[in-house]
């Protein structure tokens, strides 16, 4: 791993700044600084783009880098590779690594997932989409917005989308969260959290609020009065939780029905 950086002027001492999110170069390590011949090497060896990621440990960056190398090996033409989901949360409470590959090509997902598992020890959850499909998802689906609100990408991206409320799609997505009401006792904490997150993201979206991982988790705390960790740990007061869940579910469903009634999509 090499990092190319510029010597900056300081008041008492000059310095070389390096990114906070990096592989290696831990605090306290000794390093060599030497002049670079810019004619030979202009580009840094590695560039990763971070979106709303404050900190990420270097072991995770190494894994991300490995995933990028694997995808690059199997997919000839792709527009971007995006890592998202619980893998990017602090700590190591993830089940898999969510990888979004933007390409028009058909990909053998099993081979890639197996290679990711073999080289990183983590299950690769690979989602393949065309850029057009991603834009459509971002326009109509709050979960897509949340997915890209915190991510790591191989290339810089900007998606300009116009939010389009598609009430039938939202109805379909909301209906999945009904599962929690009938099965509270048998679902584990992670399953409950996924269903609550789906519900609250739709609720916020219907109320034209911004959808990010933070805003959804914050709203879950507001509505249910519990930290999302309590949901993931499956330590909930069933009666109180179900009452609030039903309330938000019904509010969302009524907004959707009103949208359908008024002839929107």
């Amino acid at each position: 791993m090499e990092i190319i950086s510029k010597v900056s002027l300081g008041s008492r001492m000059d310095q070389v700044y390096i990114p906070k999110n990096r592989i290696g170069f831990d605090i306290g390590n000794y390093v060599i600084i030497k002049p670079l011949n810019l004619e030979i090497e202009k580009k840094p060896l590695e560039k990763i783009y971070f979106y709303r990621i404050k900190n990420i440990v270097s072991i995770k960056l190494e894994i991300i880098n490995e995933v990028f190398i694997i995808i690059d090996k199997y997919v000839q033409n792709y527009e971007n590779i995006i890592i998202t989901g619980s893998f990017l949360e602090e700590g190591f409470h993830f089940n898999d690594i969510d990888v979004l590959v933007l390409t028009e090509d058909k990909i053998s997902l099993n081979i890639i997932s197996l290679d990711v598992k073999k080289k990183t020890g983590i299950n690769g959850h690979i989602l393949v989409l065309s850029s057009k499909a991603l834009v459509r998802g971002l326009e109509a689906d709050p979960l897509y917005q949340m997915m890209l609100s915190r991510c790591v990408a191989q290339k810089r991206f900007i998606y300009k989308t116009k939010p389009a409320l598609n009430y039938k799609l939202l109805d379909l997505h909301l209906f999945k969260s009904k599962t929690l009401l009938d099965n509270f006792d048998i679902l584990n904490g992670r399953e409950k959290y996924n269903l609550v997150r789906n519900l609250v993201a739709i609720y916020l979206y219907l109320n034209k609020k911004k959808i990010t991982v933070e805003s959804v988790d914050g709203e879950i705390k507001n509505i249910f009065g519990v930290n999302v960790l309590k949901i993931k740990d499956n330590v909930l007061d069933k009666k109180d939780f179900i009452r609030k869940y039903k309330l938000i579910y019904n509010k969302s469903f009524n907004l959707i029905l009103r949208g359908i009634e008024h002839g929107s999509k």
Partner: protein, 113 residues
């Protein structure tokens, strides 16, 4: 947790009902649907229904005609009622003819009928 047979049947019905409504709504919006692998991770009602089925005796063969009649009628009625809420608000493309077909298929798949 020990649950009695009637309770298990009701839980089974609730989950199969969810699964069938979802399938019909999915067909109604299929053209607008974007790949949804994210939500495919969500707990699937059909799989939960299957899990409850495995706890309802007899496990390895069909239930009695009386049970099948009760379960099927209850699912069909609930699904139709859920879909009618939407149709009454102007939701188009919902195919009510699928209700019985999908219910029969699902009940066969889980060895209820």
């Amino acid at each position: 947790m020990v649950q009695n047979r009637n309770k298990l049947i009701e839980l089974f019905i609730g989950n199969l009902f969810n699964s069938i409504v979802h399938e019909i709504l999915e067909k109604a919006v299929s053209k607008e649907l974007v790949a949804d692998k994210y939500r495919k991770e969500l707990a699937s009602s059909f799989e939960i229904a299957r899990m409850y089925r495995e706890k309802i005796n007899p496990v390895n063969r069909s239930l009695s005609d009386k049970d099948v009649f009760y379960i099927k009628n209850k699912i069909v009625a609930r699904v139709k009622s859920e879909l009618m809420i939407r149709i009454s608000k102007g939701y188009e493309n919902i195919d009510l003819e699928l209700v019985e077909l999908l219910t029969d298929k699902a009940l066969k798949d889980v060895k209820i009928s």
